[in-house]
Symmetry: C2
Subunit: 412 residues, 2 copies
């Protein structure tokens, strides 16, 4: 967590961090600034020093609201720089950064972070590197960067925010269940009062509405995938498709705090009215694996062992897995889990390999999401909760929600 | 527009474009893929060839839905590459790109695009550059890149989508006006039926809700800034503040299509119940400048001349401007306008300088947004519409909306 940052910088031989970009939908920046209306800026953090936000002149009040030390880019004569460069956004950023680095006497290894347009980012950093021989620009691996190592364990306050997003998420999932089960059925499809089939697009729009009502945002969309689509883990479902009874629906929802903050990630598989024996059997296999794996997770153990365990359990039930058949698209075809926080996918990673050294550290928030996929049989099942490896070593599901496969349809 | 891309690549001596990242909230990618649920991928476009999307193996159906030529990253043995790299996301991306570049015989100058995490992006491109001596990686200026030059003029279909976003935006602005003017007033503040003051945060949450109802998204938030806050152009307003009568409110709203598509940008300044003489006078100055500048805009003229004209008009009315007082934070303190489309700020730019060579090309969609700011007097005024320089040279406001300063409060 954030209190580890100076030590982790020291361990990695980093002298400073430089974060590019806005303070929304930009995890590295939001980690320092929190959610404020800052469209553009730099965050400079020297080892052992408090972070400094360098802001646009029109955003001085918003920058101050972060509670960080702030500087106005015009303190570095940015307007003059920009004019002199002939309005060249690359040259002027290079010169601005040179002035900032000189004023703060930055030297040594400086790691770069932030979601930013890659082309100009590349040229800005190349120019900075050439201009400042005393500085080494470091572009770390995303999953193993110093900042990700800092972010992987969460403070109580961060966990509370993720849990609050979980309450919002499951509340919306409940609304969706209530909406679906109050509909009529005609020709095996859900229909509204006028007899028109309700579509996946209708459901997704309601989800966005119900999230907005709760001050949440859904920047990455929702998976509401039925039948064959449910059998392809990332298939989001087709907006114009109607919603049939008796087919598996993979409903995977991963909203964040409005403004681009903390995420939650949650999946249920439903079958409306009834489930076929085949779907029921697959569901029971997934639920059994979910429960067994969840019960086995211990602090400070390698994450990869839980992917291996999941594969073993599915294989024992007769399903192919990425371990038994690396190119399979049938059976268990993805990772068990991923860390989450200010991004939907963070460290730790759970893929199976001896060189995956990620550990289940106390303080980690992550998903557990085993699934089975048989697209040609029109079948996909996934169950996912977001969980917290507490400092006391206990695993806590952040928000409980029923795991029923069949949603009864009283009006069928 | 897109049909100009091959020629613009030729003019700039580019042999290929490579776009990184997801197909949502990533303009360069969405420009090719449109809005699909693609979390991760590359878009490769060789000059004179159709673009190719290289997708995640779990997103094959979503990739196909783009209508583009698609390749699965596993066609290039990505899983093997990733394992061999020891799960190193930088090494494995470099090797994947080397294989893609070799298969498609990419050589020469390759421009890089896309919103991407800058640290790993930098290392991936450095590795690619070193591995392929026949390739030169090009990081262009954002405002002047080949892709931005392509995007600056819009097709009829793009204009229709922006106009549709304008209809949604102004419809929500109308809802806000209706909501505000139906409230009661107590102690010069708007209050709800229970007598509680309504806050800026309440209004912003309703805006998000009303946008979600219309299948729009608000990833960058809303400016609803009152009094002194209105006097700072980028100040978004403070959520906990109540809403007083008789003070200027700058309401600037810039949502996009759900999933991260085309934007609209729109501002009105309101004063509830009545306006002070000072605010009324500033408003009339801004409206007069808005009308004069709008009427003067002609196709194929330099954009910078309209910033100069705006400054001249405001100076003639006695206001400081960035031309007369470059460091002023009073008066007219920003640019007249900016292009917009898949990003809220695109080319052309309108700053005042002889080296701003951007022209008002037919087909451009842009804002017109003069304003006056006197924070110490608790005063800010801005009027903004999104307009279209049509191919016939006529300037069209995409969506009309009343420009009344005072919103009458029947219940005051």
């Amino acid at each position: 967590m954030k209190s580890d940052l100076n030590q982790l910088m020291q361990d990695a031989g980093l002298d400073a961090l430089l974060v590019f970009g806005p303070a929304s939908h930009n995890a590295a920046m939001v980690y320092f600034t929190d959610l404020h209306h800052l469209s553009w800026g730099y965050l400079l953090k020297q080892r052992g020093q408090p972070p400094i936000h360098i802001h646009h002149p029109m955003e001085r009040d918003e920058a101050k609201a972060t509670g960080l030390s702030t500087r106005n880019q015009n303190d570095f004569d940015y307007k003059e720089i920009y004019k002199k460069s002939g309005g060249d956004d690359i040259k002027s950023q290079i010169e601005l950064l040179i002035r900032i680095f000189k004023e703060y006497k930055i030297s040594g290894r400086v790691a770069i972070y932030g979601q930013y347009e890659l082309g100009p980012g590349l040229s800005i950093l190349k120019g900075l590197d050439e201009a400042l021989p005393e500085v080494e620009i470091v572009g770390e691996s995303k999953a193993r960067s110093v900042l990700m190592k800092t972010r992987v364990t969460k403070s109580e306050e961060e966990v509370d925010r993720i849990r609050r997003m979980g309450q919002i998420t499951t509340s919306v999932v409940g609304d969706v269940a209530n909406f679906l089960t109050a509909l009529d059925v005609r020709d095996n499809l859900l229909v509204d009062r006028s007899g028109q089939p309700v579509t996946i697009g209708d459901i997704k729009q309601k989800i966005n509405l119900w999230l907005a009502m709760r001050n949440a945002e859904n920047p990455k969309g929702t998976i509401f995938a039925i039948g064959r689509d449910a059998g392809i883990p990332h298939s989001a479902g087709t907006d114009t498709d109607p919603i049939p009874v008796g087919q598996p629906i993979v409903f995977d929802i991963y909203p964040c705090e409005a403004g681009g903050g903390y995420y939650y990630d949650f999946t249920r598989t439903w079958s409306l009215g009834y489930a076929t024996d085949e779907v029921q059997a697959a569901y029971e296999d997934v639920l059994d694996v979910y429960q067994n794996v969840s019960a086995s997770i211990l602090p400070n153990t390698p994450c990869s062992q839980y992917q291996d365990l999941t594969c073993e359990l599915f294989e024992a039930k007769g399903h192919p897995t990425l371990n038994s058949a690396p190119k399979t698209t049938d059976g268990y075809v993805h990772s068990l889990a991923h860390g989450l926080g200010l991004e939907i996918h963070e460290a730790p990673v759970f893929y199976s390999a001896v060189d995956n050294k990620d550990l289940m550290l106390p303080g980690t928030v992550f998903t557990i999401e085993p699934g089975l996929y048989y697209p040609e049989r029109g079948l996909g099942v996934r169950i996912e909760d977001t969980v917290y490896m507490r400092p006391d070593g206990e695993l806590e599901i952040l928000v409980d929600f029923p795991k029923d496969l069949v949603l009864e349809l009283p009006r069928m």
